[in-house]
Structure formats: C-alpha cells, structure tokens
C-alpha cells in the first residue's frame, strides 16, 4: 500500500456517508429493473454487518427510501445483497419452509488477488499494487469477452471490491433465472486453474490431447499478448530458482528440462524474458509438425493460461443464495468505496485512486462551503468525485430498465 494514512471508517463517518452520499436510488433501479417496486426488490434479501461483526440476515424492503432509513438506523459497516426469494425475506419465519426458496439472482463472479499469490512477486495477501492489478485487468478482459460471446449475456456490471478484488454482476433475465446446477456448470466451464496449494499441477484442459477448446483458444491468444509484460517483465516470475523450477515442472519434455535447468543455474542473472526465449528456442529446435514441437507449444500455451487466466472464486458463483457485498459500500480496512469499473478501460483503472469515504466527505464540505448551505441533502454525491462512478451504475440501470420496458411493450402488442 502506498501511504498509510489514517483510515477513518468510524460510525460517524459511515453514517454521514449513508445519509449524504450513498446512491440508494441508483442501487434500487439496478436491482429492480423498473421504476415501480417489483419482487426483484421487495423479495430481495439484504444482509447487514453491524459494528462489532453482528450479522443480520433476511432483511427486505419495499422501497429505496425504506432501505435508506434502515441503513441509516443500523449504520452497518457494510451490507450485502442476496437473491430474490419466493416470499419476502423479512417474513421468512412466518412462511412454510418449503415455500421460501431463492428464485432469481444476478449471476455473480468474484476474483480475488489472494488466489494469485503463487504467481505474483510484488505483494502478497491483502496487499495490492498497480503491478499486480494487471492480473485482475487480464482476468476482467477475458471474462468479459467470454461471458458476452459464449453465453450471450449483455448486462455486466464490474465493481471494484474496495481492496484487492473485483466483482461481476450479470443482470440479464436468463442469467438471473439460472439454477444452481446451471451456475455450477457455467463456473466449471470458466475455471481452468483449480485453486489450492496444488497450483503447480499441470492444467487439464485439452479434450483431445492436442487442441484447446475454442473458448480457451481465444483466451490464450489474447493472454499471450500481455503475458510478456505482466509475467516476464513486471513480475519477473522466473528470475528466482523457485520461480523457474515452477516453470520447468510444467514442461513435459524431460530432455528440454535438463538442458534448460543447466543453462539457468549456470547464469543466475538471466531475466524471465531471456528464459522464456530459451524455452521458445528449445521448441524451435524440433521440426515443425513433430510431436515434440506440438507438445512443447501446447505446454507453453498451458503455462500462459496458468499464469494469467482468470482465477475465479467458484463458491461465490455456484449458489443463488450466496451473498455479495453491495456496490458503493465502504471497505472497512481501506475506507475505499466499492465503485463500478468500466471493463473497456480496466487497464487504466488504478485501485489507489478510488476515493475513500474520508476524502469524499471532505470534498462535500468544500463544495458546501462554496455554494452556501442547502436545506436537503439529496444526491450530494454529484458534488464529489463519486459522481463518475454513480453515473456508470445509472447508465447500466437505465439500459436494464429500457430492456424491460421494450419487452413489456412487445408483450402488450401480442395481446
């Protein structure tokens, strides 16, 4: 982390944030898809984490105002959004158990930097810097394209999680209606690296020993363009002995491995780029079309995937009733707001430039002083650096609402 300034997320600060800055109306529109409250909002579970880690589940609200009132009253450190149930979650105790089931839910993904610990050298654990953000950025690009092209979903909202990860919310009608089994299948389609400590294991993604499935072929072609910069030059992952040993483990040809190991241990100063070139040169020694050459090329593709392919936290996506932190909450450790991110400019996104709650309140004070005090605090976020981010959510919600409106009109015609 760059500067260790005092992060102020005290209850008073949080309360002021909820009262004056949190865009409840935008959140409502995004979840509800319509102006008038529907089940998508009224039957939706909200869970609050209060000061002192008290956890309140199964709250539900009729309107955005009601939600705001409750949030200001409870003043939680954060709150999470769950599925749309078959009954109002606040009535959970009074309905028959069988009658209370999750029906709809945005398809969500969570990518967390901790899963990248084995392949990053700059930071570890909760820390994050611009350099390791490149991994997240690569993951976003791959996931964004795959979801849209392969599954045909269009309404994707990317949200920075406030510290070291990123969330994706997909609000397409079909995506919201997926069953747990279908979610599981989709996640497993997307998963290439199976987490845990066995990350050195070779990938098993090839159906016919040779060719990659089409979806991964596209991904690997894109990832190959960023691999040299991120893995070789930025992270310089194969510089250390541990680093290059991990690389050698993934090469199937034992002769190539021995020869490379010899060269590399003799010249400890060889950079990762040099080593990658060495590997490429080894592959070129074999005749084009020979089985050794294809095996090595395949292994190199696998290596690229291994180091740069999105590492998804599968458990988050698999179940409809999994809760995920709402956008625009404040991360209690960093004080940063969980802001929506434009996936097309993900490269330029700098997690350290995301406004913190303290900074926003300061901005508000300055703006208030210059304009003179106004009676009501409505949409005060417009006067702060939170505005561009709220605009992203508003634009996204507007598109959703437009789709629902058109759909409804079409249905009307058919009558």
């Amino acid at each position: 982390m760059a500067v260790k300034e005092a992060v102020d997320t005290s209850p008073e600060v949080m309360l002021a944030f909820y009262r004056r800055l949190y865009p409840f109306k935008s959140l409502f529109n995004w979840l509800n898809h319509e102006h008038a409250p529907t089940r998508r909002f009224t039957h939706r579970e909200f869970a609050f984490t209060l000061q002192g880690d008290v956890y309140l589940r199964y709250n539900s609200f009729n309107t955005a105002e009601e939600l705001k009132k409750q949030v200001c009253q409870l003043n939680p450190t954060r709150f999470e959004i769950g599925p749309v149930y078959s009954a109002r979650p606040k009535d959970k105790k009074t309905v028959r158990p069988g009658m209370f089931t999750p029906l709809q839910r945005e398809l969500v993904f969570d990518i967390d930097m901790t899963d990248y610990d084995p392949v990053r050298t700059c930071c570890s654990g909760a820390d994050i810097c611009r350099r390791c953000w490149a991994f997240i950025s690569a993951a976003v690009q791959v996931l964004h394209t795959s979801i849209r092209e392969q599954f045909g979903y269009e309404n994707l909202l990317w949200v920075y999680s406030g510290r070291r990860g990123i969330h994706l919310w997909i609000s397409d009608k079909e995506a919201m209606e997926l069953t747990d089994d279908q979610r599981k299948a989709l996640v497993s389609w997307m998963t290439v690296i199976h987490g845990g400590q066995e990350s050195s294991k070779k990938l098993n993604v090839r159906l016919n020993a040779r060719s990659l499935p089409a979806s991964l072929q596209t991904a690997v072609e894109h990832l190959a363009t960023i691999f040299p910069e991120v893995v070789l030059s930025d992270q310089n992952l194969f510089a250390s002995e541990d680093g290059y040993e991990a690389l050698l483990e993934q090469i199937p040809d034992s002769q190539v491995v021995t020869s490379l190991r010899k060269t590399w241990s003799a010249n400890p100063s060889r950079s990762s780029e040099d080593k990658w070139l060495d590997l490429k040169a080894q592959a070129k020694k074999f005749e084009k079309g020979s089985s050794q050459r294809t095996n090595l090329t395949a292994a190199m593709e696998d290596i690229i995937l291994h180091y740069t392919y999105p590492r998804i936290d599968a458990e988050v996506s698999k179940h409809r009733n999994h809760l995920l932190k709402a956008p625009f909450c404040v991360h209690p450790k960093t004080g940063r707001v969980c802001v929506p991110v434009d996936p097309l400019h993900i490269d330029e996104f700098n997690p350290e430039s995301v406004p913190t709650v303290g900074q926003l309140l300061k901005e508000l004070d300055t703006a208030g002083r210059s304009e003179g005090e106004v009676g009501e605090h409505h949409s005060d976020w417009e006067k702060t650096s939170l505005k561009p981010y709220v605009d992203i959510l508003d634009k996204h919600a507007l598109r959703l609402m437009e789709q629902v409106r058109l759909e409804k009109r079409e249905q009307d015609v058919s009558w």
Partner: protein, 490 residues
C-alpha cells in the same frame, strides 16, 4: 385414479370410438416420457403391485449409487432386476408389449404420487428414475430409439452445413473421438450438429464438451442423449412439483393413502423385501436350540446379533425383541419344540411356572399354534427400520454412531472387520443408506468366502431381510465345508 371417475361421466360411445381410432397402439415405444397420466380404471391391487415392482428397481439403483458401482455394473444389475420384476421388451406379441408397457407407465405414476411430497423424496425419485431411463435408452436399439426421438419435439435446431463449416475449427476442437487425428476428422465430417440453449445441456458445458456461441450450445449427434436426459429430468421435476401442489386437493380414496405412505417408507428402507423364507431348502439339517449361540456368532446380521447378545447378558428380552428375534429364528429353521427349549434356557432366572404362563403362549402364537393361527413372517429390514427408535430395530439406523462403531468392532472383528473399514460404514450410515451399510458389512465379513465388494448376497443384491443375510451366510459356510470335506475324501 386421476379423475377417472370424472371422465367416465363424459364417456359416450362416440368419444370412445374416437380414442381407439386415434391410437391403435397405446404404447408405441419402449421408452416413455410419461407425459400423460394413465386414464383408466385400475384395481387397488394392481395399483400397489405395479408400484412395488418398480420401487424394487429404483431402490436397487439408489443403493448402487451409494455403493459406487460403475455404470456397467449398474446396468447389469438393473437389467437383471428389470427382467425379474418389470420386463420391458422390444419384441414380442403386441399384447405382451402393451401389458409390459402399461405396467411401466402405471408404476411410474403411482410412485410419482408417493414421492412428490417432500423435496428430498422428489430429488431422489428424479435421480433414480432418470438413471432407469438412461439404462433403458442405452439398451434400446438404434432404430427404435430414433423412432422414439422423432415422436417428440425436443426443440433442437439442426445446424446446417454452412453454419457447420463456418465454425468448423471451433467445433472440431471440442469434438472428442479417436486419438488418430484423421479418423477423428472423418467422424466429425459425418457428424450432425444440433443447437440448443446452453442451459439445457449443463453437463456438457461443465466438461467443455460443446462449442458455445451467444448462449447456444452446438451439440454433436453422439451427445444428443444429454439433451434427452436433461429434458427428462426437467420435465419430471416440474411434473412432480405440480403433483405435490395438487395432491392435497386430489379427490382421494381412503384406500390409497396407506399404500402411498407405505411406498414412500419403502424408499427409506431401500428395497421392499422380497426374501421369503425358504429355510429348509438351504440347510437340510434342523437347527437345535443349543446351536443358536454358535450360529449367531457366525452368521447373524448386527440387528439379530445384538438382540442375541442382549438376551445372553440380561437373560431376558422385551416383548418386541422376543417377537422379532423369535420370528427370525423360526424362519431360520428352529422348530417350535426347539424354540421353547431355547427360550426356556435363555430365561434361566424365572420359574417354570412363570415361563409357561407368560411366555410360552406367545412363542406358540408366533408359530401359528395359538389364537389367530396365522403363519407370521419374520420382520423385514423395512419393518425394522421404520419401527421407531428401540433396542430391537435396525442398529445402523437407531444406534448412535459411536455405539454403532463399538458394536461393529466387538461383534465382527473376529470375522475380519477392522477399524479401517469403519469410516466407510459410518459415511454410508450418515447418508441414510442403512441397508447399504449392512450389505457392506456382509461383504467385509464374508470376504474369506470369496465375497467381493459390490457383490452383496450374490449378483449385487442388497440386504433387505435379516434372514436373507443369515441364510446367505450359512449357505456360503456350507459350500466351503462341503468342498473341504470333498478334499478330505479325495
């Protein structure tokens, strides 16, 4: 059933004639998606037997899954069970085929009624039914299967040649087949592709076996069955939920509820027992009272063994314990005279007078010599399992896990059970597959007789009756003794 009475009211000759004209064959195919409920009169007896026969097969499928049988093993076992209880042939006289298919149809719908009531039962029923469907689909001949597939709209879009060649590279990349590249490509070129929404083939998506484009999955012809199976499951799940919702409003006959209750209990117990004692046939020698101790050690299942041990420890057994154990011994081959001797000796702390007054009558009663003079059958696993917690029910179900493990070790360690085997048993018990646990114990304790894992009491059959357990055990022992004798003679 199913409002058949309502229909009768509207029945007139014209309608009847029309119906027969439209469907000269009621069940044209062996496979059935069970779209339409049976709309005809059924006797209560037929109602029950059809369901029971089907339940046997479903329970066998369930226990196979719990015992990790391979697909091939499962197929063999199920097909064998099907030939016995629910044959469904491809060829034969029209009449025979119709009656077999009618039974299959009816049984399915009766079980729907029995298993729609809770989430858990529905899930298990769908799983077992779709496995059965898969087995039959697998065993169907290609022609018949194609006819069946054509008879139904699966809502798949055939991919034309132009589109296929457009995505040739992508499709080929996820086309599995021969290791030889050119053979694979040849097969690919003749393959037909179908387009469906990806949500209809989650199993193929999960394994990346299809090509996905904008939400459409391109399914090769040989994976077509995935669509069919998925459709079957989804269809059944919806139908079951609908049935569950309308069940309370069903114009119900009070004769059916007990049958349905009984059926859903049957699933819990595994298989409705088909073991009807043929004790004498198995062991020619009559069993004497003094042999029981020895037999118990060697051949009894845990339930009977623990009752025997209780009897020896307390010199007494409570009423239902006496009843269950007494009937078990009767079917095992203990004559009434020997039974009286056995119980008299076991209850050695009471006077002759008290014994004759309070116990002898009941013993004679259970042999059909007093009162109603009925020949009572020994209690099956199902009855022992569902009798409620007691010290004379099924130990796998009613014992706490700690007690069960202690009991298993102290009872069977001399017969080859080691503590290393316990985790597997405990896991099965935790999953609620009590009869599977018992069957595994049988297999483990009889491994010296050549019983292998998954074989059960022969041919993969599970334990469904304490007497089945004991009889099989004694049979195995006898075969070994006989061959040993032969060796000596030679």
């Amino acid at each position: 059933m199913f409002k058949s009475t309502d229909r009768k009211v509207f029945h007139d000759d014209k309608e009847l004639a029309q119906v027969t004209k439209h469907s000269p064959v009621k069940y044209p195919y062996r496979l059935n998606f069970y779209d339409r409920p049976p709309l005809y009169d059924v006797t209560v007896e037929e109602f029950e037997t059809c369901a029971l026969d089907r339940l046997r097969i479903l329970a066998e499928i369930e226990s196979s899954a719990a015992r990790n049988r391979s697909w091939e093993e499962l197929k063999t076992v199920t097909n064998k069970q099907c030939t016995n209880h629910l044959p469904l042939q491809t060829t034969g006289t029209q009449e025979l085929l119709e009656s077999q298919r009618r039974k299959d149809h009816l049984g399915h719908f009766v079980l729907r009624l029995a298993f729609c009531r809770s989430e858990d039962l529905r899930r298990r029923f769908i799983k077992a039914e779709s496995t059965l469907f898969r087995i039959r689909y697998d065993g169907d001949n290609t022609e018949e299967r194609q006819l069946f597939l054509n008879s139904r709209d699966f809502n798949w879009i055939p991919v034309d040649a132009a589109e296929k060649s457009k995505y040739r590279r992508e499709l080929l990349a996820s086309y599995s087949g021969s290791k030889n590249e050119s053979v694979r490509e040849q097969a690919f070129d003749t393959e037909r592709y179908y387009k469906v929404k990806w949500t209809r083939v989650p199993d193929l998506v999960e394994k990346r076996k299809v090509f996905l484009k904008a939400g459409w999955a391109y399914v090769p012809g040989k994976e077509q069955s995935s669509i069919v199976f998925q459709e079957f499951e989804v269809h059944l799940a919806k139908a079951l939920e609908l049935t569950a919702r309308s069940l309370p409003r069903l114009d119900e006959d009070s004769r059916l509820v007990p049958i349905l209750d009984n059926l859903s209990q049957g699933f819990l117990a595994g298989v409705p027992s088909e073991w009807s004692g043929s004790g004498e046939a198995i062991n020619g020698d009559e069993i004497k009272a003094e042999m029981v101790d020895d037999l118990a050690k060697r051949h009894f299942p845990l339930c009977m063994r623990s009752m025997h041990d209780n009897l020896r420890r307390d010199h007494h057994l409570k009423h239902f314990g006496r009843l269950n154990y007494g009937l078990f011994l009767k079917v095992l081959g203990l004559s009434i005279e020997e039974a009286v001797v056995f119980w008299r000796k076991s209850f050695d702390r009471i006077t002759d007078d008290k014994f004759n007054k309070e116990y002898k009558y009941n013993i004679r009663h259970s042999y059909g010599l007093e009162g109603k003079r009925a020949n009572y059958a020994a209690k099956s696993c199902q009855q022992l399992l569902t009798s409620g917690p007691s010290d004379h029910g099924c130990p796998y179900r009613h014992f706490s896990l700690e007690n069960l493990q202690t009991a298993l070790l102290s009872t069977y360690s001399s017969r080859g059970l080691t503590s290393a085997d316990l985790p597997e048993i405990v896991a099965t018990v935790k999953a609620g597959h009590y009869h599977v646990a018992c069957t595994r114990v049988f297999e483990m304790t009889h491994s010296s007789f050549g019983v292998k894992k998954g074989e059960g009491t022969g041919g993969g059959e599970s334990i469904t009756h304490p007497n089945q357990y004991a009889a099989k055990s004694m049979e195995l022992y006898k075969v070994q003794q006989d061959s040993a004798e032969k060796m000596l003679v030679e």
